[in-house]
């Protein structure tokens, strides 16, 4: 428990934080624009949606599941919210509809996993397609203009700081406390560590899994509203491919895909690193195609290093 440099470096949060700093320092020297307020705000906004959605994803992964549907749920809830706004003109109703769409998708994911015993990978892969399809059906494929409270959430500022960034920090604190201190949070870790032992120890693992999938859906719904608000338009294709960024942020932040291990602070760092890398490609004007390649490589690298390290430890 002492501050031993070696054990400190073994913590994935620390090594990713160092990577984050290295990229930031490099960009600060390589381009003049990086440290401008405008650019930093932009990076913050990008990080905020990934981080918010990744908070839910992290809990799912810690409980030994995975939620591949978050990108589509972002699109579906954005569309639902914008359509209700268009139909009723009520901001409150629109916001509720967006969050409810996300929560509903999450509850369905949870029900498929706990009641029908479908593997989470397959259940949420199905949801990925279904949710996107419904978003396209509802809109006929045409973006819905969206303004009101959502615009404030997506593009507004509180004393100069983007509202979504403030929300990100608030949610990180809340989820961190809930994960480490609440009974349900502790059960999430126990279920992910050894589901059989957790069940026999009297933990309601179906309930725990339901909670994490529902929460992941809810946060994806919030992410959808923020993204649509930022663009003042709800595109049914919104959030496409987002699951990759979100899962990458979680894994980079030190959460093990095998479950039972992971920190919420790490998720924040992982999300910021992903946003910073996106920003780097733009600032250094490297082809966007390389960006896609690099994102994939980073995930493989992060998990690969972890696997190598643990493989060396557990070999008999």
């Amino acid at each position: 428990m002492t501050f031993d440099l070696k054990t400190l470096l073994r913590q994935r949060e620390i090594s990713v934080l160092l990577m984050l700093l290295a990229v930031a320092i490099y960009l600060a020297f390589a381009t003049d624009y990086f440290l401008s307020q405008r650019n930093l705000m932009n990076v913050g906004r990008q990080a905020s949606v990934v981080a918010i959605v990744a908070l839910g994803q992290a809990l799912v992964i810690i409980a030994r599941g995975i939620d591949l549907s978050v990108g589509s749920v972002i699109g579906l809830s954005a569309v639902c919210s914008a359509l209700v706004m268009q139909a009723t003109g009520s901001d409150a109703l629109a916001l509720t509809a967006g969050l409810a769409a996300g929560l509903g998708a999450g509850l369905l994911n949870g029900a498929m996993v706990t009641r029908l015993h479908i593997n989470p990978f397959i259940a949420t892969l199905g949801m990925l397609s279904v949710a996107r399809g419904i978003a396209l059906l509802l809109t006929g494929g045409i973006p819905v203009p969206y303004s009101g409270w959502a615009e404030w959430l997506g593009a507004g500022r509180v004393s100069g700081i983007p509202v979504s960034v403030v929300m990100m920090f608030a949610l990180v604190v809340i989820v961190h406390i809930a994960a480490s201190r609440s009974v349900t949070g502790r059960e999430v870790y126990a279920v992910g560590d050894n589901p059989k032992a957790a069940r026999l120890a009297g933990i309601d693992i179906a309930r725990t899994r339901m909670v994490v999938f529902a929460f992941s859906g809810l946060l994806a719904g919030l992410g959808g509203i923020i993204l649509a608000g930022n663009l003042a338009s709800a595109d049914p294709n919104l959030g496409m491919g987002y699951e990759l960024d979100v899962i990458a942020a979680v894994i980079l932040g030190g959460t093990a895909l095998s479950g039972g291990r992971g920190s919420i602070i790490g998720v924040l760092i992982g999300a910021m690193l992903m946003a910073l890398l996106n920003n780097a490609f733009v600032l250094l004007s490297i082809s966007a195609y390389w960006q896609v390649v690099t994102k994939g490589l980073i995930i493989i690298l992060a998990v690969g290093i972890d696997g190598l390290r643990r493989g060396a430890e557990t070999d008999d």
């Binding site: 428990m1 609440s182 032992a197 009297g202 309930r207």
Partner: protein
């Protein structure tokens, strides 16, 4: 195959296997210390010892699955260091493990010829040849009742064991190592199997026989070796040796398995079970378990002990019958509901079903009692620390700090942490499934004390165990299960090993 013949030509009086000062450590833990042993051709050695004494490690070194840290293995007059199990097999050593490795979805014949199936002219598997050869292989070990065409997965555990033994015997080994070969065999199978052992001995095959069945070992073996804490503590001939001497050698204290009379439990019924059944493993079970009683469940592998406990704790669906817990209907659908009703389980298989391997000792201990404090929403860190510290101290868990990972503790201490978890849940009925499996002697006797103390404190305890001495040491009464049915409930005064074993086999006898 050639090895079996050439052996007869070599010097018959020289030992086939010699272990010289073999030592083995895993990290800081010494598992074997200066073990010296020699086995003559055609000799049958009984290797006895408690779980964790080092028997399996020793045999794995002989078979080439493990490297010794010190000393050397001399096999057939030459120092050997097998780099792998297959080299050991080449040299004529066959090891039948306790953990079965038959492939359930293949036939018995295919299992027997796995990796070396005979082919016909077209290059396809010659099933007819394989079948007749399989018949002969099975008959050789006294298992001619097994049809080679059956799916291996549909066989009983004991039959699967015989298939594995037949496979090993067919390689014509010079040394055959059998790890608990008779633990799931019916008496009939045991006697035909022992015939095979006698025949093999006459053919000059040396056999090392790991077993917990003392009577069998004394009947069939030429020498009985007892291993305790990694060292050979006695080397006796069966003639003139008593069971009591062997138990004292194994445990280091004759008193480990001594029953200490307890104040009689109350007449109040804690758990009433009526005509209980699940879909496939147990049926027609009726029991009355009294408050404060230590009640045993004994049976062979597959008798339904674990399944019965799982029904009581809500981890398995009950399809018929009913239960009453302290006068209230008890039909939990999940272990979480059972815990609410006051039933906690210490499951079988510490690694797979007991510990949370990435959690600390403290968090492992508190896993069943998280909702007990702080209104059930938030965990109070201080309350948790205090409650777990007190319980871990009471159970004498040896550790540096309760925040260290549970996997850094010894097996016995890990098991005590799982006990602490169950006790902290405040349950009134404690279910224990193989509570001392894989723990060392010291921890074993401490765990017996913990169980007795829990019962003295008014908890009702059900202990399921496959170890007869354990059942007899602990229990006030014992229910013997056979093939998922209740054979009988035996009172303290009638608890003799032979009687309990006979009951455990009763359903098999009916069939034959």
């Amino acid at each position: 195959m050639v090895a079996g013949i050439s052996m007869a030509a070599s010097n018959p009086s020289a030992p086939l296997l010699r272990l010289e000062e073999i030592g083995k450590s895993f990290g800081a833990t010494k598992v074997l210390e200066a073990v010296t042993l020699s086995v003559a051709p055609g000799e049958v050695i009984g290797l006895l010892g408690e779980n964790g004494a080092g028997k399996s490690t020793m045999m794995n070194i002989v078979a080439g699955a493990l490297e010794p840290s010190a000393g050397r293995v001399v096999f057939a007059d030459a120092p050997r260091r097998f780099a792998s199990i297959s080299e050991g097999i080449e040299a004529g050593i066959a090891f039948v493990h306790q953990e079965l490795s038959v492939v359930g979805s293949l036939s018995v014949a295919e299992n027997l010829f796995l990796g070396r199936m005979p082919r016909n002219r077209l290059g396809l598997v010659d099933f007819a040849a394989m079948r007749s050869a399989s018949k002969a292989m099975l008959a050789a070990v006294g298992a001619s009742d097994i049809d080679p065409g059956r799916l291996a997965g549909s066989l009983r555990t004991g039959e699967q064991q015989l298939v594995e033994i037949a496979r090993a015997a067919a390689r014509n080994p010079r040394l055959l190592i059998l790890d608990e070969p008779t633990s799931s065999l019916t008496p009939h199978e045991v006697s035909t199997f022992l015939d095979y052992v006698r025949k093999a001995r006459l053919a000059g095959i040396s056999i090392i026989f790991i077993t917990h069945r003392l009577e069998e070992a004394m009947m069939i073996c030429d020498r009985l070796l007892v291993l305790r804490n990694g060292a050979i503590v006695s080397d006796r001939r069966p003639a003139g040796t008593t069971k009591e001497q062997i138990i004292a050698d194994m445990t280091g204290k004759a008193s480990l398995f001594a029953y200490s009379p307890r104040t009689n439990p109350s007449d109040k019924v804690a758990l009433r079970v009526r005509n209980l059944a699940d879909r496939d493993h147990v049926s027609g079970i009726s029991l009355d378990i009294r408050q404060g009683e230590i009640f045993g469940l004994f049976g062979l592998v597959g008798a339904g002990r674990t399944e019965l406990l799982e029904i009581i704790v809500g981890a398995r669906t009950m399809s018929r019958g009913n239960m009453e817990l302290f006068g209230r209907n008890h039909a939990p659908r999940t272990p979480a509901q059972a815990l609410q009703a006051g039933v906690a389980l210490v499951p079988e298989g510490r690694k797979t079903a007991g510990i949370l391997p990435q959690h600390s000792v403290r968090r492992n201990a508190s896993a069943s009692s998280l909702r007990k404090s702080g209104g059930g929403v938030m965990v109070s860190p201080r309350g948790e620390a205090e409650r777990t510290a007190a319980e871990l101290k009471a159970l004498a868990v040896r550790m540096r700090d309760d925040r260290q990972p549970i996997t850094t503790l010894s097996g016995g201490n890990q098991q005590k942490v799982v006990f602490a978890r169950a006790l902290l849940s405040g349950s009134r009925l404690l279910l224990l499934d193989e509570p001392t499996h894989g723990v060392d002697i010291g921890a074993k006797s401490e765990i017996y004390e913990i169980i007795r103390r829990a019962a003295e404190n008014g908890l009702t305890v059900i202990v399921a165990s496959s170890e007869l001495p354990e059942i007899i040491a602990l229990c006030d009464r014992v229910a013997v299960l056979s093939k998922g049915r209740l054979a009988d409930i035996v009172e303290r005064d009638d608890m003799q090993e032979a009687h309990l074993l006979r009951l455990a086999f009763s359903e098999y006898e009916k069939q034959q």
